[in-house]
């Protein structure tokens, strides 16, 4: 198991190399001139040229990239063109906000979706099932940012219970987390239901019923554990999506997270900030996927046995 984890961690290196090259290449060669974005409106050509020299933009692309990568392997991810702050530090000050939002959303989603998914599967083809599925269908059809706006209209403007944006303590987390969480919940409900329906038809469930297990025990002890694997996959996949994909929720609620950071940096052509943030994000994603795989092994002895054999 340990060697497997180590192997997966080593696989991160090519991922970092390829991502950095692609992003740096895309940002440098097609992204327009950052000097023009940075210069004051009525700057002379000489001033703009000076900014280019200061940023090191006058050198050729391979040299710039090699310098950047050399810095990175010494632990220096560069400084932002715009704010002149260290890329790594800026990313790290934003990361906790995004992690809070992602964690809270996934928590809300799981708490709604897993019970609802199991409930609808048990009551398949009744009105309870239909009602649950209609809820889930609406959830996946709704644009996330619109749900956010609707929640603002209801909870902050009409009722005045919750703040409509910014990050001002625990209460300000509620609406953004609900926005991201409800969309996720719809998706996880659908997965849970279909996974549960697959499992309920298995022979071992019939056996459990035949030997006189109570229905509650059949569901909790025999069905749920086996239905969990695809559910964990979906949650894991969505978690990495939430981390960078929550730029919309962050925009609606002016939440200072990394999605918004990357979006703003791309539009300002801030190459070091974009490259650095995306590299750090991909490292984060690899780590999350690894964590999901380890969690599989924890829940499913069959997969654990596979890991042991592989190594």
């Amino acid at each position: 198991m340990f060697r497997y984890i180590l192997k997966r961690l080593l696989l991160m290196i090519p991922v970092i190399l390829v991502t950095s090259l692609v992003i740096y290449f895309a940002m440098s060669l097609t992204g327009g001139d950052p000097a023009i974005y940075l210069a004051p409106e009525n700057a002379s050509d000489a001033q703009i040229q000076q900014i280019r020299v200061d940023l090191g933009l006058t050198e050729s692309f391979p040299i710039r990239y090699l310098k950047y990568m050399a810095g990175m392997f010494r632990g220096n991810m560069g400084t932002s063109y715009v704010t002149k702050r260290d890329v790594f530090n800026t990313f790290m000050t934003r990361l906790p906000n995004t992690l809070q939002l992602a964690g809270a959303s996934v928590l809300i989603a799981t708490l709604i979706a897993i019970p609802l998914g199991i409930y609808t599967a048990i009551h398949q083809n009744t009105w309870k099932d239909t009602a649950g599925m209609i809820f889930a269908l609406f959830g996946v059809s709704m644009p996330n940012f619109w749900l956010g706006l609707m929640l603002i209209i209801l909870f902050s403007l009409k009722l005045g219970w919750l703040p409509s944006g910014g990050k001002t303590g625990l209460l300000s987390l509620v609406l953004p987390a609900m926005t991201v969480g409800l969309g996720l919940a719809a998706l996880i409900t659908r997965t849970t239901r279909s996974s549960m329906l697959d499992v309920i038809r298995e022979d071992y469930i019939r056996t459990a019923r035949a030997k006189g297990c109570s229905e509650k025990r059949v569901i909790r002890k025999h069905a749920m554990g086996n239905a969990l694997i695809p559910i964990i996959t979906v949650i894991g996949m969505q978690l990495s999506n939430v981390l960078t994909g929550s730029v919309l929720a962050e925009t609606v609620f002016s939440w200072p997270g990394i999605g918004r950071l990357i979006f703003d940096s791309i539009s300002k052509r801030d190459t070091p900030m974009v490259t650095g943030s995306i590299i750090l994000c991909s490292v984060l994603m690899v780590a999350i996927n690894l964590l999901v795989d380890v969690i599989y092994a924890f829940f499913d002895p069959r997969i654990k046995a596979q890991f042991m054999r592989k190594v």
């Binding site: 709704m142 940012f145 925009t251 990357i262």
Partner: protein, 298 residues
């Protein structure tokens, strides 16, 4: 992929009298959700097409009329007017053109690109497969929105670039589906016999392999158009999609945000339009999935 024509529960006699398409249609029409979805989409498409003839883009859709700004829904303006006095109902109808064209356009281009690469990867295997699939993995791992943000900000904001950005993310899921289908079909006996008959490889892929992997692709197309409509409106909402003053639904929402305190309907209505369109596509997609492969139906 299981050969779908033998899945019918009705007996041998009846099976012969119906073609695959008729059989699918018969099952689809039994599904209430799919019918509702189809009807809604049909009405929306007709309305979108007609709106181009009834209303004039310059005078009815984008011209400002400050005297009538921010009017709540009434008999004169059933969806109200926006911050520049434009009728929201007309703009929503006209906006359907953007959402439907961008949604279906980028998915169809993505489909063609994805199916070509996926079939090649699945058919040849080996190195070709590795290169295509690893590239695809990278595209698949990055959230769609981020890919689109990067492409649109690099190439500039325009409707065409938006379409391009969205078709990149659409194609990556088709590569997977096409590859998986082709790999299952490749081993079947009728492919071997086609080879034995001396057909060239590209003809085998085009005539035998692709038609037999159609059903998962049709389902994915329907569902993906919905997702893409949401992505397109999200990007317009962020200000990097369809440029203003075009009445794209996401852009309308974004503009309405500043009026959310006193004219919340400006934010509510475009969102409902997006939601019901995507809902209709999802209902149809789920219905098609059940109709094309009854084995999947739970």
């Amino acid at each position: 992929m299981v050969d779908i024509s033998i899945n019918s529960i009705s007996g041998e006699q009846e099976l012969k009298s119906r073609s695959l398409g008729q059989e699918t249609l018969r099952r689809l029409l039994k599904n209430k959700g799919a019918i509702i979805g189809m009807l809604f989409l049909l009405i929306l498409i007709i309305a979108a097409v007609l709106s181009g003839f009834i209303y004039d883009y310059d005078t009815d859709v984008i011209s400002q009329n400050i005297g009538e700004r921010l009017q709540w829904p009434s008999r004169a303006h059933i969806f109200g007017t926006d911050e520049l006095g434009r009728d929201i109902f007309i703009r929503i109808l006209y906006g359907a053109r953007y959402s439907l064209t961008i949604g279906s356009g980028s998915v169809l281009i993505g489909l063609i690109v994805g199916v070509i690469f996926g079939s090649i990867a699945g058919f040849y295997g080996g190195m070709v497969d590795q290169v295509i699939m690893r590239t695809n993995d990278i595209l698949y791992a990055v959230p769609n929105i981020m890919i689109a943000v990067v492409i649109v900000s690099l190439l500039g904001t325009s409707t065409f670039n938006l379409l391009l950005a969205l078709c990149v993310s659409a194609s990556s899921s088709f590569v997977r589906i096409a590859r998986a289908s082709v790999m299952t079909i490749r081993g079947q006996e009728y492919i071997e016999s086609a080879y034995a008959m001396g057909l060239p490889t590209w003809k085998i892929i085009l005539k035998h392999v692709i038609p037999n992997s159609l059903s998962p692709i049709i389902v994915q197309v329907t569902l993906l158009i919905g997702t893409t409509i949401i992505s397109a409106s999200s990007l317009s909402f962020l200000g990097i999609g369809v440029p203003s003053p075009a009445p794209e639904w996401g852009a309308m929402l974004s503009a309405g945000r500043s009026q959310i305190r006193n004219a919340s309907y400006i934010c509510v209505i475009p969102g409902l339009a997006i939601m019901f369109t995507v809902l209709a596509l999802n209902l149809l997609g789920d219905g098609l999935r059940d109709a094309l492969d009854p084995k999947l139906k739970k």
